[in-house]
Each structure stands twice: as C-alpha cells, then as structure tokens.
Amino acid sequence: MSTAFGFSSSAWAASCCGGGSASSLVLPKFSQAMVDVSLDFESYDGFWKGDGSWSPDPAGSDLNQYRLNLGYAYRLAPRWQASVSLPYVWNKNEYASFSRNTDGLGDTKLSIWYEQFDKVACVWKVKKWQDLIPAIYWGGTLTLPTGTSQYDGVDDNFDITGLGMYRLDANVLFDKTVYPWNATFSANYGKYLERPVNREYGTYVEPYDKQRGDRFNSSLSFGYTHFTEEMQSITGTLAYAYLQEDEARIDGVVDTTSGMQKRSASATLAWASEDRNWVAKLTWSHALDRDGWGENFPTTDVVTVGVSHVLR
C-alpha cells in the first residue's frame, strides 16, 4: 500500500469568491487565516498493473486507510500566504488469514503561495474582457517525511504512513467564478530529493541511494453555486484529476518496476455560511476499476468530510 501515500486531501479550503481552492489549502483573498480539519476514508478496490490492466485484490481482503488532516493557512502579506498540513493516518487491513491495524503521523506539507491578483476575481456578470481574468496562484510545497516509512524500524508494509522522502513541488492554480458557475485548474510538479537508505522494513541492508521519480498532478473542475435566501451557498463541483510519477532511480539506475499513473473523478458538495467564514464539505473521489485508467497503482474510493473556518 505504500504507493498510496501520494494523497492530497480534496476537502481543503474555503472555495469562496475571492479565491480559495477546493483542491489546495489556499486562503480566500483578504482573509487573515484559516483552520481546516478533514477526515478521509479511503477504500482500496484492486489495482492497475504496470500494463494498465486492472486486477482485483485477493479474495477476502478489506483494505482501508483513514486520515485526519489538520491544516492551517496564514496570510503573510496582501499577496502572500503560507500553510501547513499534517495528516494522522490509520491503516486498517484485513486479509483472509489475518488483520492489521496500525496508525501514525503522515507526511507534513509546508506551502507558500503568491496571489497574482489584487482584488477579488469573482464576478456576477461579464461586462468587459477583464472580468474573465482568473485568480492565479503560484505556489511551492515542501513535503517533510514525518510519517513512518519502509525505511524506518517497521515490521512490514502495513505500518507505513509516509513515503520517507522529501519532495519539492511547484504549484499553479487558476480559479474563475462567474456566478453561479466556477472553473478551476490546478497543476503541480514535484521533485523528490535523493536520499540514502540503509534499512528496509526494519532490517539493515547495504546502503544505497534512492530517488523517486518526478511527480505531476493536475486537476480540472467545474462547479455550480446555489444561494439561499439567507445568502448561504451550496456548491456542487465535479472534477477530473490525473496523477503521474516517473520511474525511480536506485544508485542512479532507473527502476523499471516503478512509476505509476492514476486517473480519477470526484464530486464535491460544499456549504458555506452567509459570511463565508465556515465551509463544510463532502467529497467522493472515485477511480475507475477498469483497464487503462491507471498503471502500477491501487484503485481507491475516497470519501472526505471536512470543515474549514476562515478568520478575517
């Protein structure tokens, strides 16, 4: 299951007019801070092999991972913001002959974002071409290997809650709202740092260097917002996401058994209070258990419930 730990919570954020994002922990414009708490329920349902063909998990297995994600974003300057997100992970795996329940801290993410706009980019009507300019965010994320990886003193793979690698990501996010419609595109490109390895699953081995392959992730979403008479909002969003990781290198030699791809679709229902200070979200992310929708990666369903509070 270790390859599953590339997750990013889909319930981050405020996702309101003025920016904010449904896919990243990004503050809305003019707000000072945000706290976000979400819970992921990820259920494994087979996997894609390296040739893209889908295969079921062994009969009698029930594989799940739950994650509690705590996020905090803070405005540093009118155009700059920073955030931290920290997951706590529970692995619950049952096979025909045994079951294992383990838990531990996941990998921590530190992000910084630059907003390439000065005022709210959401409009009710397009009156001039400038009204079509989206809110653009540029960001960088550092993933810290605070989770438990296969390179720690673990018994086996069921204890793993992190990848054990530092990663630097460059992020971009385009968000445009012309009420009641919204479209978002996000992409990030991540590079893992090479690290020495001298232990695998608790057993010391001859040291070597490992570097996972570069990771590319993109997402495109469209949403519709309904306002109640009290100006609370209910937003429905459909998204398509693509994730790819290149082949790893071991002592500089390509590992042809690594690398992966995953395509998934998700649906989100979000409620925001009339002042947009509270947002509650429910997301279902689904990966198709069919040939050709991924490679060398588990097929999962993720249900995420989350709430975020914006501090103005």
Binding site: T3, A59, S97, Q150, A248
Partner: protein
Amino acid sequence: MSYVRTPVRSWCKYFSLTLLLSMLSACGDLTEDLSPSSDDKRATVTAGTTGYMPGQLAADFFISSSAADTFQLSDHLATGAEPADVVVLYFTMWCPICLAHSDHIYNVVMPQFAGRGTIVYGLVDYVSGSVSAARASEQANGYAGSDFVTLVDNQHALMDQFNGAMGTVVVIDSDGTILMNEDYRNGATLIDILGQQLP
C-alpha cells in the same frame, strides 16, 4: 486588513495547537527519515549459524504450494531429491509493486538465466490464507502454469523465518546459505547474484 481577536479565533488556534501536539506526541518514534543515514549498520554474521541474514544458513521449512503439494527447502538443496543451484523466494501480497517485481522476474530474470543451471522461483503468498485462495490469486494475476511455485504462507512461517515483507526477495544457494535478503528494488542485485552463482 483588520485583525480582530475574537473568541472563535482564539478557540481555533488553541484547538489547532492541541491537535498538532497530540499528533506529534502520539508518534513516539518520530522517524529517521528526516535525517536519513548512509551508515552501514548491518550486524556481523557468523558463518554457519542459522538465521535470515545473508551469510547465514536458512533453516529447513516445508509449506503447501498452490497446487496442494508440499514444498520443502531441503528437497532443493544439493543433497535433496530435486537439487537446484539456487532457490529464489519473492514475498508477494498481490499488490501493484509486488506484481511489478514478479513480472520483472518473469519477463527479465527468468529468460536471462534460462539454461544456466537450475533455479527454483517461489512466490511466497502471505495474504491469501488458503491453498484455493492462493491459486485464485495466482490465476487472477497471470501466473497459473508459470515457472513460479506459489507457496501458501498462511501462518506467516516464512515471513517470520526470513523477516520478510512486501517485496522482499531471498536467495538461497545449494548449501542452504542465504545470499540475499532485501527489497527487490529494481532487480539489479538479484541479477548480479544469479550471475555470480550460476554456471
């Protein structure tokens, strides 16, 4: 931008800090991954002792195969009934990484060493739980009728004996000496060892 301290803001900060500290304190062994080491910390092994480390002797074992036969290690050592030059054991839980590795063995390693001595390739299935389930997993993943022997480790005897985990590959020579016990990675170490060991 105004900054107004409110009870809600204070509560949120307090809650966040408490939750963060709780998470950190719950993680007693806060991982060595933040500062990974390249030091060689392998224990010194005494030749002739029995264990799971390279250089040690593998204890004999017998276990059911997916064909409901009994597979006994000593049968495949130099003095056994079906001697082999090398026994290769790969620990699988029929996952993407496992299949990538076992496919690599099947498509790259086996052809490369075909005709160079006798090699027994075993897939150690430690998750299926029964002979019939292991056979079903073997078939579902395209290994039915292959040169792999699927070994049904439903009591985790081999996992315990070799300290195995997902992706572990163990190589045992005809004297019963363990030549390799580590993650498969990209297969390079296995290929090196087979290249040295086989005629």
